[in-house]
């Protein structure tokens, strides 16, 4: 585990988490949440948990983004918070 790389990705994770919750457009929030999942997958691959990393890449970044986009397209895209 390289601590510089670790710290860099962790800071990016906090930033993407905050932006995903702050942005007003729900479709943007879904895409930024997908970036968050992909960064998390990178962190796990770096920690030596390759099985968890590719499950997260397929299921977390892929499938849950599809679920979110499907829900947003069937309901509404705008929000007040």
């Amino acid at each position: 585990m390289i601590w510089q790389f670790d710290l860099f990705i962790l800071v990016l994770l906090v930033i993407t988490a905050l932006v995903a919750l702050k942005v007003r457009d729900l479709l943007s929030a879904a895409m930024i949440f997908s970036i968050y999942s992909l960064l998390m997958c990178l962190l796990w691959a770096e920690m030596g948990a390759v099985d968890v990393a590719f499950t997260e890449a397929a299921v977390g970044a892929g499938l849950s983004t599809v679920f979110l986009i499907a829900t947003i397209l069937r309901t509404t895209r705008r929000t007040t918070d």
């Binding site: 906090v14 299921v59 979110l68």
Partner: protein, 133 residues
């Protein structure tokens, strides 16, 4: 004083896990939109999974796959567990990821049904419409 500071700085990753967890908890409590609430729930889950996976890390270790595992004869006697990351938390958290996505899928299906009935996914508006009935 400097001991306390070293204690805090040397465990910076745990502090960031706690920050991520609290971001998720804040979103679940304070956000009014249901999709935002569920994004917060996913952030909360992944932060906890990240904490558990990080407990399996050893310094100088590689991924938990045996080198030369196919020729069992001489290699099996020379396995040193210090050279491999601990795979037990990985296996447990693999289940947790799948459960998290299943939870998200069911929650979003319920959000769609709520939108069919109330024409909105904002919690205060739904509570207002419930109060009118």
């Amino acid at each position: 004083m400097s001991d306390v500071l070293t204690f805090i700085i040397s465990r910076f990753n745990y502090w960031i896990y706690i920050v991520l967890m609290m971001i998720g908890l804040y979103a679940m409590i304070a956000k009014r939109n249901y999709v935002k609430k569920f994004i917060g729930m996913s952030i909360f889950q992944t932060a906890i999974i990240l904490f558990y996976v990080s407990t399996g890390v050893k310094s100088g270790a590689t991924i938990p796959i045996l080198e030369h595992g196919h020729d069992i004869g001489h290699a099996a006697a020379a396995i040193n567990p210090d050279h491999y990351a601990n795979p037990l938390p990985h296996v447990l958290m693999l289940t947790a990821i799948v459960v998290g996505v299943a939870t998200l899928g069911v929650a979003l299906a319920v959000v769609q049904k709520v939108h069919d009935q109330y024409e909105t996914i904002e919690e205060p508006e739904i509570l207002f419409k419930l109060g009118q009935e």
